[in-house]
């Protein structure tokens, strides 16, 4: 009807094509980027570079020009991370889902290789890095992505109705890398894998009473590990140092580190000492203040206000990630997005928490901020993945 209104068939056909192409263009993934997510991630990484600059070049009593080596390397990783984000966003995440077995296999191989004494670099008693001509690859970071994708793919296939078989398969998929990481040893990263499994089970539709059962079993297993002596004494000391605060008679290195860290952060007070003005930082009272303990630089130099700003930026990332999990086109996207948020939340909590005495001291870096190429590239890749899911929520 109303041929007069819409013209003849040809005209109608052209119009339909035009409308269709407008729709097509409207749902074109590139039109559905999440600028807040990307902007926040870039801002955090930028802050990280500035903090590494402060942590590694402010040294009182040392002559000569400060070495900018750490800053340049972090900037290089920043660039590679940007590239990784683009790659992770451009490839359709459903296609990536198909690559899950390959990715998973690769990460297991890397985790196995790093344990070989001639390959893995021994640092502080653990083999966590593979040296690749000036760049150190940390297989446990790769494994985190691989585990997320592999388990999300498995749960997706069950479509929200996982069986006992699915559960056992997931446990196995997570258990192998977690075990290998535990052997490095890197207790913190092993615990992160277990945590990821829980988050994905939660979002992936595992019945809540199964989850409760798993939680009880998990706690039992941890208790057994402690009692059975599988945890090395230095690991135990680091893990429990924060419970021994004030008991300086027993103060080991870990407690020293914690005390110095709390002095630095506490002395920042409300507004901080100012950029590169932190005396505890400058006088090298805190070991590893450019990597695991980088939050002490924030706390000392920018105070409570600066700490809140940093935490708020992480909160923005989590908000965007949860939003993406809500609006994802499929369960796979939801699970992956929530796992990334869960990973981010845990790492921020454990890393910041250990510097202020409410979490055990583990070697978990602060996402985007801590010095470390693999971590930074991995986090940009994960942001790319979130972006990927966000962009393709319509088709």
């Amino acid at each position: 009807m109303a041929s007069s209104t819409y013209g003849d068939d040809r005209t109608r056909r052209i119009m339909r094509k035009q409308v269709q192409s407008r729709w097509m263009r409207a749902y074109e993934p590139i039109r559905h980027l999440d600028p807040i997510l990307v902007g926040t991630a870039l801002l955090l990484a930028g802050i990280g570079v500035a903090l590494i600059y402060s942590a590694t070049t402010t040294r009182v009593g040392q002559g000569g020009d400060p070495s900018l080596g750490f800053v340049w390397r972090q900037l290089l990783a920043f660039g590679l991370g940007g590239l990784g984000m683009v790659v992770a966003a451009v490839l359709d995440y459903r296609w990536i889902r198909g690559l899950a077995p390959l990715l998973y296999g690769l990460s297991i191989v890397l985790l196995a290789i790093v344990l070989v004494p001639s390959v893995g670099t021994l640092v502080n008693g653990s083999r966590r890095w593979i040296s690749l001509g000036g760049f150190n690859l940390q297989p446990s970071e790769v494994a985190k992505i691989a585990v997320i994708i592999a388990i999300a793919a498995l749960l997706y296939e069950r479509g929200g109705e996982p069986t006992i078989g699915t559960l056992l398969a997931c446990l196995a998929l997570a258990g192998i890398p977690a075990g290998l990481i535990f052997l490095e040893p890197d207790l913190g990263s092993a615990i992160v894998i277990v945590w990821l499994l829980f988050v994905m089970f939660l979002v992936g539709g595992l019945p809540l009473r199964w989850l409760a059962g798993l939680a009880v079993g998990g706690i039992g297993a941890v208790a057994y590990a402690f009692i059975g002596g599988f945890i090395k004494s230095y690991q135990l000391e680091r893990l429990t140092a924060f419970l021994d605060q004030g008991n300086s008679a027993q103060a080991g290195d870990a407690l020293y580190q914690l005390n110095q860290s709390m002095i630095a952060i506490g002395s920042g007070q409300l507004a901080g000492q100012g950029f590169r003005q932190g005396t505890q930082n400058a006088a090298a009272f805190i070991p590893e203040n450019h990597t695991d303990f980088i939050f002490t630089v924030v706390g000392e130099e920018f105070g409570f206000v600066g700490s809140l700003v940093l935490l708020a930026l992480f909160a923005v990332l989590m908000w965007r990630g949860l939003r993406i999990a809500m609006i994802a086109k499929d369960l796979f996207g939801s699970i992956v997005a929530s796992a990334i948020v869960g990973l981010l939340g845990l790492q921020v909590f454990v890393n910041v928490g250990m510097t202020i005495g409410i979490a055990p001291i583990t070697g978990i870096p602060l996402p985007f901020v801590s010095y470390g190429g693999t971590s930074l590239i991995m986090w940009f890749a994960l942001v790319g993945l979130l972006l990927n899911i966000h962009m393709r929520r319509f088709r």
């Binding site: 009182v60 988050v199 709390m262 506490g266 002395s267 920042g268 005396t279 006088a283 700490s307």
Partner: protein, 707 residues
């Protein structure tokens, strides 16, 4: 599809709640740390990165009265090591090849054993920021070697350290004392509050008494450090301030002369003198030691004070344990150089005590309504012996000397004169005792007079370890008897261990058993014989040479007894006097002028009358120009010839001059020195010749059989 119990939205909300919870936990903890308790952590961060380094202040000097230096600081070249470059936190040498090699090289450079070198690095409790001296007084070549080859001696520095130096050598060793590291038993005591382990303090003599003035103000440097305790900046620096100088009353020239004269006198006595015992046999004079004091009676200033044997303060300053042992070996009566005999040794005063008894006898007459005691004019007999309580007490002179007054009794040093007076006073006191007056309420005129003259207690010279001496009396005897009657027998004293002797050791058949039994039962009683012995400075009386000098100064002042002192004034490093140590009156003894005249007459006659006991040694001395008043004393430690043979009497001479307007009190005591005019009086004469700048004259020793 999705069952009722699975809602992705619900599950995501649960995840959101967990994430919010984690962020809230972080925020609240940060609020607590940074806002609520941030100032505490701010303080902690300040103390974390700052530290104090103190540097020792040079001690002040000890100066003689004329300003010449007795003790000063010298700058010594020293080699020190930065301890943390060589030792680990536990104080053990680092197990590092370059460190081991450096230790080997340093040991061979300093020519010491490696183990000794490491020990000296470990031994001192000092700040890790201050290098530890491992070798002091090294040759300049050693310093050059260290400075020119820092690569061979990492962590080794050459330093200039202040060291105590004694430009006049051994002079006044007993008085200046010495310094040393504070000892464990001194740490934390009230006297040394504020001192830490490793601090150097005065340990004896003036160094100790005036330590507070001599100590300088430590330099304090506040520095900023990093986590490995490496200095990165300086916050403040107050340099050390040198301690104040203490000026002593000593006349340095006289002091060294007196020390020489005393030593010469003792050497002469050892080489030449013999002492005749009551049984006419002769024993050599041992003269184990002696003391000499020159004091200004008007102010109490000690002009010179010598004690023999002496020691070298440099030996103690060097910290040699062997030398320390030698100086403080108290078991050897021939040695004990560490003992300042002038203030720390107690001896029976013998006849120099007779001014006390004379004054006591004069007071006795005045005090009671009875006709006891004497007036300056009273004349009584001086028989050859006197019986008191059934026992014979002899005068030193076996011939009776007839009637004499107090002045003559002093001149002739007549013992029996004083025996009679003391026995009479004792009988009067004894009567009170029989009437039931408690022991501590009976007035003992002689004892009280002695106390007022400065005996029986420290006179308060500003030097440590002054002895009190003993004034015996009823109360003292009772306590002493009670305390010692049951002790094991230590010999020497008859009361000591008398009950043990009578009850456990001696057979009742033994000839001495009855004597000990009596002493055991009634040894607490102050007997007439005790009072008689005390009246001539024998028996249980013990005094220090300083007390004798103080009392003779009081005599010279006619009753005004000045507190002796060694400190004159304190000057700050620029030489301004900041404190004058004023003379103090120890006691003002009121007595009629006629009494002083009588005593003075007696003391003048001792030296200047033909019959005086001290005449011979002063023959040829210009007594017209420099009249001398004095008193000889021969203090017997034993009761008979056999005991005297083991223990030759202590020789005394106490004097002042010029007798009409006294400026100097000179007292000399020689342990086991024989007669007072034999050994001590010639020494006193030599000292006066030095004081009055007289040419050395031939001095004749007095007879050994005159008291």
């Amino acid at each position: 599809m999705a069952t009722d119990e699975y809602s992705p939205g619900l599950r995501l909300s649960m995840l959101t709640i967990v994430m919010v919870g984690l962020l809230m936990a972080l925020t609240s903890r940060l609020y607590y740390l940074q806002v609520l308790t941030g100032d505490i952590f701010e303080d902690l961060s300040v103390s974390n990165r700052t530290t104090q380094v103190t540097s020792e202040a040079p001690r002040g000097r000890l100066l003689a009265a004329d300003g010449s230096e007795l003790v000063r600081n010298r700058i010594a070249l020293a080699v020190s090591v930065e301890r943390d470059r060589f030792l680990d936190a536990a104080g053990e040498p680092l197990d590092d090849p370059p460190v081991t090699a450096a230790i080997t090289r340093l040991a061979s450079l300093l020519d010491v054993e490696e183990a000794d070198l490491v020990e000296s690095m470990q031994s001192l409790a000092r700040s890790v920021f201050r290098p530890v001296p491992v070798a002091v007084d090294v040759a300049p070549e050693v310093v050059f070697a260290v400075q020119e080859h820092p690569e061979l001696f990492p962590g080794v520095v050459a330093e200039r350290l202040p060291i105590r130096e004694y430009p006049q050598g051994q002079v006044a060793a007993h008085l200046v004392g010495y310094i040393g590291e504070i000892q464990d038993r001194q740490l934390g005591t009230e006297e040394w509050s504020g001192f830490d382990a490793g601090d150097i303090i005065g340990q004896a003599g003036m160094e100790r008494v005036y330590d507070q003035a001599l100590q300088g103000t430590e330099g304090v440097r506040r520095i900023e450090v990093n986590a490995s305790n490496t200095m990165v900046g300086e916050l403040s620096n107050s340099p050390p301030i040198r301690g104040n100088d203490v000026v002593l009353t000593l006349d340095p020239d006289l002091q060294s002369s007196v020390e020489e004269i005393l030593e010469d006198g003792i050497m002469t006595a050892r080489a030449e003198f013999t002492y005749q015992l009551d049984d006419e046999s002769e024993v050599p004079v041992e003269a184990t030691g002696g003391a000499a004091i020159v004091m200004d009676p008007r102010t109490g200033d000690i002009k010179a004070m010598a004690s023999y044997p002496t020691f070298d303060p440099r030996g103690l300053a060097s910290g040699s344990p062997d030398y320390f042992e030698y100086v403080f070996d108290n078991d050897n009566v021939w040695g004990r150089p560490g003992l300042n005999r002038a203030v720390g040794g107690t001896y029976p005063p013998a006849s120099v005590w007779k001014i006390v008894s004379g004054l006591g006898a004069l007071r006795d007459r005045q005090a009671g309504d009875r006709r006891g005691g004497i007036t300056p004019d009273t004349e009584i007999e001086c028989p050859a012996s006197l019986e008191v309580g059934g026992r014979e007490f002899n005068n030193w002179n076996p011939k009776p000397e007839g009637e004499m007054d107090l002045a003559q009794a002093l001149m002739r040093s007549c013992d029996t004169f004083f025996y009679q007076l003391a026995a009479d006073q004792w009988a009067q006191e004894r009567a009170q005792e029989s009437d039931g007056v408690p022991v501590d309420e009976i007035t003992e005129v002689y004892g009280d007079t002695a106390r007022e003259l400065g005996f029986g207690d420290q006179v308060g010279l500003d030097i440590p370890q002054e002895a009190s001496g003993v004034i015996p009396g009823r109360e003292w005897r009772l306590n002493y008897w009670f305390d010692t009657k049951d002790l094991s027998v230590a010999g020497g004293d008859s009361i000591n261990g008398s009950c043990t002797m009578a009850n456990d050791i001696l057979d009742p058949e033994d000839q001495n058993w009855e004597l000990f039994r009596d002493l055991c039962i009634s040894g607490g009683i102050w007997r007439g014989g005790d009072a008689v012995n005390m009246s001539i400075g024998q028996g249980d009386v013990l005094v220090t040479p300083l007390q004798v000098a103080t009392s003779y100064a009081g005599m010279a002042n006619r009753g005004t007894i000045m507190k002796p002192k060694l400190g004159k004034e304190i000057r700050d490093p620029s030489g301004d006097v900041i404190e004058v140590i004023e003379p103090e009156v120890l006691h003002d003894l009121q007595a009629p002028g006629a009494w002083w005249d009588e005593l003075q007459q007696g003391l003048e006659d001792v030296v200047m009358s033909d019959r005086g006991t001290g005449r011979v040694p002063f023959e040829g001395f210009p007594l017209g120009r420099y009249p001398i008043a004095g008193k000889t004393g021969t203090g017997q430690a034993g009761f008979n010839a056999a005991e005297d043979r083991d223990n030759v009497p202590f020789s005394w001479f106490a004097s002042y001059a010029p007798a009409d307007d006294p400026e100097y009190v000179v007292v000399v005591m020689i342990e086991r020195g024989g007669g007072g005019s034999q050994t001590s009086a010639p020494i006193v004469r030599s000292i006066y010749e030095k004081i009055f700048d007289l040419k050395g004259t031939e001095i004749q020793a007095g007879p050994d059989d005159v008291d």
